[in-house]
């Protein structure tokens, strides 16, 4: 039964992609994004010796306040959707979509598990490449891989910029301007810092990068490319426009590029920001933390302790989720610990510190890769 479904999916890749999109977006990304709106408030409270929102309940069920995100969603939907009279209406409506669509689409390139070996779910698989038919646990396997991510990430700048411009508000325009300058500056460093990892693992394709990292943590990107890890993580946090890089929002002086948005339109910007943090965690996991790899777990099991294929895959998918949860937690920790940069400090950090360091990283890595391959 399960095998025949998988075989059908292996043969019809378009339907399989649809199923995987549903699984990934409805089953993982959206719930996690909604939960992080609650987790952010609860975690920041814990860090600041408060309790945070723990009141929302359905009858007697409080669930530590997790239901607050339901209350938030209901509030957002029922709030008045105010459109100021002088806005550019079409662009004003387009901006939230431009903010959320790219960050949802880029999840297509993230592998959330290894290839499923059709027909051998309950057998021990020693060599996954010998499978007759496979269902990759990745929506789209493209050779351009992470370049696709950079292409779409630069599109998401338009969400902030259009929102700032279309609102006909000088503060939101300043916010949009800051957002576009910041995101463009840091995208350079993001791309260059990943270049070292591409050189080491010999591919742009996320699944190939994860497979190349293997189950030995000493071969993961965080160990082989420590400088790139720090650079990429910093630049990517700046790309999400959250503290300490939240200048486009800048509550005390600007309120941000979404100052004129209300109701669910604002909610979409809010959600896009959280999805962006999850996606950043996914990229860092894929390139630097071994993706779905578990230390010591091969496709046949832990060393000589054999496990059925399905169990191995499930463990690896859970490990992938846990790595992402940890990185989301870390981002919230950073967001509530560090003070905001000044615009000149932000630009200095991006262009005069991160950029030369990432160039240095590429040169050193390229030399090392060349030396290891024997100069060929």
């Amino acid at each position: 039964m399960l095998d025949s479904i998988l075989l059908f999916l292996a043969q019809h890749t378009a339907i399989a992609a649809f199923v995987k999109v549903i699984l990934l977006v409805v089953g993982f990304v959206m719930p996690l994004a909604s939960l992080s709106t609650w987790a952010e408030r609860r975690q920041s409270a814990m860090m600041q010796d408060r309790l945070g929102p723990n009141r929302a309940n359905i009858g007697p069920f409080k669930l530590w306040g997790i239901l607050h995100f339901v209350a938030d969603a209901v509030k957002m939907v029922f709030k008045e959707d105010l459109v100021p009279s002088k806005v550019n209406r079409s662009l004003f409506a387009l901006a939230p979509v431009m903010a959320i669509a790219p960050v949802l689409i880029v999840f297509a390139v993230i592998p959330f598990g290894p290839d499923l070996c059709v027909g051998q779910l309950f057998a021990t698989v020693n060599d996954p490449s010998a499978c007759l038919a496979t269902v990759p646990l990745q929506v789209a396997r493209m050779d351009v891989g992470l370049l696709f991510y950079f292409a779409l990430a630069s599109l998401s700048v338009y969400g902030a910029t259009l929102a700032g411009w279309a609102s006909y508000n000088k503060w939101s325009l300043l916010g949009g301007l800051r957002a576009s300058s910041q995101m463009m500056s840091y995208e350079v460093c993001m791309g260059l810092s990943l270049m070292g990892a591409f050189l080491v693992y010999g591919s742009l394709e996320p699944h190939a990068i994860v497979v190349a990292q293997g189950s030995n943590p000493l071969n993961w990107g965080m160990v082989t490319q420590p400088l790139a890890f720090v650079l990429f993580f910093t630049a990517a946090v700046a790309e999400t426009k959250r503290a300490p890089f939240d200048l486009p929002e800048g509550e005390p002086e600007l309120i941000g590029y979404f100052v004129e948005y209300s109701g669910m339109r604002f909610g979409i910007f809010f959600l896009a920001e959280f999805i962006e943090t999850i996606f950043l965690s996914a990229v860092v996991t894929t390139v630097f933390l071994g993706g779905w790899q578990v230390p010591g777990l091969d496709s046949s099991g832990f060393g000589s302790f054999h496990l059925p294929h399905l169990a191995v895959v499930l463990i690896q998918v859970v490990a992938w989720s846990l790595k992402i949860l940890f990185l989301c937690w870390l981002q919230l920790l950073i967001r509530w610990t560090l003070p905001r940069f000044r615009p000149d400090q932000l630009m200095r950090l991006g262009w005069k510190q991160l950029l030369p360091l990432s160039l240095l990283n590429i040169v050193v890595t390229a030399a090392w890769v060349l030396w290891r391959s024997g100069g060929n």
Partner: protein
């Protein structure tokens, strides 16, 4: 650099500098060590502090001092000013004699009293006694002004949340409901706290 606050010789002659006291600007270099200028070790140290608080509060509420209000209540000080109440005589009548001192003292004009004749030539009494708790600024001047110990704010009750502004007006009947018998002597008439304990049921403020 250490003498940068002294007037420089090239700009001013010594005589003009000694004549006029000037505010100097001392340029002080940042005392940052290399470790601080790299910033990353300090970031990690900062994250360590917040993570320590996070985990300590997550597992044992070690540092939190939050009082979860509806379930947990702190005892208020005796002089805490809560919702108003009107005190009773020993026969349950209102102690207020409608002297109008409290609406006169009230800076927010939130007290409205309509007096009526009691038939007793010595006293009036309030026909209606209303306090708009939304206008009240909880200053307690009305209580200070009252010569009869008729109006108090020691109920320990918070002003309730209401759906309509009118609902926040406390009428005489509401104010009396929270009242209790005062054992202060009023105009030389009535019970004396030295000799007589209250005879009607006492109001029990919430703990």
């Amino acid at each position: 650099m250490s003498h940068a606050h002294a007037p420089s010789q090239s700009d001013h002659t010594p005589s003009s500098a000694s004549k006029k006291a000037r505010v100097g600007v001392r340029v002080v270099g940042r005392p940052d060590s290399l470790e601080q200028r790299i910033y990353l070790p300090e970031v990690i140290r900062g994250l360590g502090v917040t993570a320590k608080h996070f985990f300590a509060n997550l597992f044992s509420r070690k540092y939190t001092v939050t009082v979860e209000y509806p379930e947990q209540k702190l005892r208020y000080a005796d002089r805490h000013r809560g919702l108003h109440r009107l005190m009773h005589r020993e026969d349950g009548q209102v102690r207020c004699v409608a002297c109008m001192l409290c609406p006169t003292a009230c800076p927010a004009h939130c007290i409205t009293i309509v007096a009526e004749d009691t038939g007793n030539k010595n006293e009036k009494r309030p026909r209606s006694f209303e306090i708009d708790e939304l206008r009240c600024i909880v200053c307690g001047l009305c209580v200070e002004a009252c010569p009869c110990d008729a109006l108090r704010m020691d109920s320990g009750v918070h002003a309730p949340a209401v759906d309509f502004r009118g609902d926040a007006i406390q009428a005489k009947i509401d104010l009396l409901k929270r009242g209790s018998q005062s054992v202060a002597t009023q105009g030389g008439i009535g019970a004396d706290w030295r000799t007589q304990q209250p005879t009607v049921k006492q109001y029990d403020p919430p703990k």
